[in-house]
Amino acid sequence: MSPLTMFSFASPETIPNKVYWALFGIAIFAWAIASSILWFHWRTYGSNTKRIVRIRRVYLVGSLIILSIAIGFIFLL
């Protein structure tokens, strides 16, 4: 038995979806913190200039696409 298979989730067949959801949870938590820092800077120092508004949209759309891919990935497993 290899050291990794000693863990319950590391059965040779599959990893439970819970593990993926946990990883996703950590990622979304970090994303939320990073986004709030960016938001604060864009709002406070960027003062909603045209470029800031545009870049905020791009950021949101891109992030949502990547997060959707991650969620889709978990559901398809």
Binding site: P12, A27, T49
Partner: protein
């Protein structure tokens, strides 16, 4: 002096730029100067490397995990982690962009605002009166700087220990010209006002 002198559209101030600073009465924004996009592009290249290099190793790592554990999920977990890695790089790009965008020089017909964004949690805003400007130095070093038209600008002010400089500024000669012309106009205006009195 107005914005028609500035041929480069990138240097023309955003209509909302006045939201970033508090302008005095009769004060007009002449120019908005930032570091050259080359600075941002070099960071984007770094991010692309961080994206492409792991992509090459996804199949290898997946297979390796399968071999070590005797499992079949190696590829799945590595692919999933790669998606999360993409999210991290995406966020990192916007941190870089924010650092680039918020680091700006705003030149008005009365003052120079040097907003220095160093990373995310360090920010310095210095203001100097154009009348105090004594000397403007531009230095363009290297092949990229020469062909892509960017360089360092240093403004020497009277009686101030403050260092007014912007590194890798886009079109430094236009910025220098704008500062010198605005300085001249302001000094002429002051002289005219003194003579009239």
């Amino acid at each position: 002096m107005n914005n028609h002198h500035i041929e480069d559209t990138k240097l023309q101030p955003d209509k909302n730029i006045r939201k970033l600073i508090n302008l005095e009465e009769g004060e007009q924004v002449l120019l908005e100067a930032r570091r050259h996009m080359f600075v941002l592009y070099s960071r984007i290249t770094f991010l692309l490397m961080l994206l492409i290099v792991p992509l090459v190793f996804v199949p290898t790592t997946g297979t390796l995990i399968n071999k070590i554990t005797g499992a079949t999920y190696g590829m799945q977990i590595v692919s999933f982690l790669f998606i999360l890695w993409c999210l991290f790089l995406w966020v990192l790009f916007f941190f870089y962009w924010t650092d680039y965008y918020l680091d700006v020089w705003i030149i008005t017909n009365k003052r120079i605002f040097d907003i220095d964004q160093q990373g995310i949690f360090r920010r310095e805003v210095s203001v100097t009166n154009l009348e105090r400007v004594q000397d403007v130095t531009v230095s363009v070093n290297g092949i990229f700087a020469t062909f892509l038209k960017f360089g360092d600008i240093h403004v020497q002010t009277a009686g101030s220990q403050m260092d007014f400089s912007i590194k890798n500024a886009s079109n430094p000669m236009i910025i220098k010209e704008t500062i010198m012309r605005a300085h001249e106009n302001l000094v002429n205006l002051r002289n005219h006002q003194t003579n009239t009195i």
